[in-house]
Amino acid sequence: MPILPGRRRPRDPRLPPGQYDAGDGFPVLSAEVTPRIDLDTWSFRIDGLVDTPVTWTWPQLRALPPATYEGDIHCVTTWSKLGTSFTGVSVDTLLAQAGVQGRATHVVAWSVTGYTTNLPLEHVTDGLAWVVWEHEGRPLPPEHGGPVRMLVPHLYFWKSAKWIGGLRLLDHDEPGFWETRGYHALGDPWSEQRYDGD
């Protein structure tokens, strides 16, 4: 079996196992054609097991208290981007307006393209998830999910749905696009939960 040299520099402790530092790069991975989204007609909706389903237009979303994430992101294809930043609004802010019902346990994040991904409710609350429209101070480019995407940076990045359309709260787990196609239900990079059964 071939063997590679040891790494020249000590491994950055921010890198989960099996990941490499993409540096300034920001690779693009998505399974569909990048949609062209008109913010004049786009909206974001929270429905399902909430007291009041709420739909925000783009100006309404922008009027909410902004929040910025500064830290790392990790793609299942083994790149990580360290020390980056995204700005938008905390999912906590959005859920507070809708009112989460007690029996809600999971959410499905869905995109205008039809992409979906499932998340346990406790993985998108208490400061763990955002709906974002800026990357490092600039508008989020379409190929990176712009104008608006999810950000759940403590999980592999396929959980951070691009071109987000809304969140639906459920009382059960509903596997999404990749989760029904061989990928892990949760996707914790620190446990290398890449594929089904990992």
Partner: protein, 269 residues
């Protein structure tokens, strides 16, 4: 999605049916040590390694990929995904240990690909797979395959699968390369009725088409030849981010519904 507890909710958009396929051996695919039984240069920068998998190993579906890992001296592993280029083996080969070919483009400052270009027959590699349930073609729907450079690899598995079984499902491969010397599988694609090669920088002598980027004019007659525009054909686009964005938009502009275009974006590795 249907949810009996929430009958009044509107259906969410969807990207097509999903079949949750758990392999017979259990959900997790384990690492296997496999033997390299052949290596072959495709171009000056791309090499195919042919692997002999264990008897009974799952056979890939055209379009799927494997993960290859190589140990480092410090005990850690480097791993990357590589698409299968070969047609999937049948039941008899599977029983004896199926073969799969991975074509690896050499990235000079990459970590894995230079090492994979150094393997020789008899070496062993650690692999896991096959993976991927979206960018796959089972031979059941008319397909327009559009690849840029090394993006041809998973598409070649589809074309070879069709040839191997003599399938009549319409399929056409359009592959875009800088010049003739950058074309993978050139012997198999030369003169192939189900393949079109587009050159972006250097056209071969006598070519009627001057070198230029892939355009709607390249794809439109192919779509028409497949018997449909605006529906009925599934597009499979694979290549770099720039190529995939460009080719995907071309297909949509030509009337292929965006929901019928499947995209695989290759990154450097």
């Amino acid at each position: 999605m249907t949810d009996p507890a929430l009958p009044s909710l509107p259906a969410l958009p969807a990207m097509g049916p999903a079949a949750r396929r758990v392999p017979p051996a259990g959900a997790r695919r384990e690492w296997s040590d496999v033997e390299v039984v052949a290596v072959r240069d495709e171009t000056a920068h791309a090499r195919t390694v042919r692997l002999h998998l264990p008897p009974g190993a799952e056979v890939h579906v055209p379009g799927q990929h494997y993960v290859v890992r190589i140990p480092r001296e410090d005990g850690s592993w480097a791993q990357r995904s590589y698409s299968a280029a070969s047609a999937p083996d049948g039941p008899a080969e599977r029983a004896a240990g199926p073969h799969v070919e991975l074509t690896v483009e050499r990235i000079d400052d990459g970590e894995l690909s230079p090492a994979l270009h150094g393997v020789t027959v008899g070496d062993r590699l650690s692999v896991r797979g096959p993976f991927g349930g979206w960018f796959v073609w089972r031979g059941d729907v008319p397909a327009l395959l559009v690849g840029g450079g090394s993006g041809v690899v998973p598409l070649m598995a589809m074309l070879r699968h069709r040839r191997r079984h003599g399938l009549t499902t319409p399929l056409h491969l359009v592959v875009s390369v800088r010049g003739p010397e950058d074309l993978f599988y050139a012997d198999e694609l030369a003169g192939a009725p189900e393949a079109t090669v587009v050159h972006t920088r250097v056209a071969p002598p006598g070519s009627a088409r001057p070198p230029a980027h892939l355009s709607a004019a390249d794809l439109q007659p192919v779509l028409a030849g497949l018997g449909a525009t605006g529906g009925g054909v599934t597009g499979y686009v694979c290549g770099s981010t720039g190529f995939a964005e460009h080719a995907g938009q071309l297909l949509v502009e030509l009337g292929v519904p965006s929901g019928d275009v499947r995209v695989e974006r290759f990154g450097p590795s």
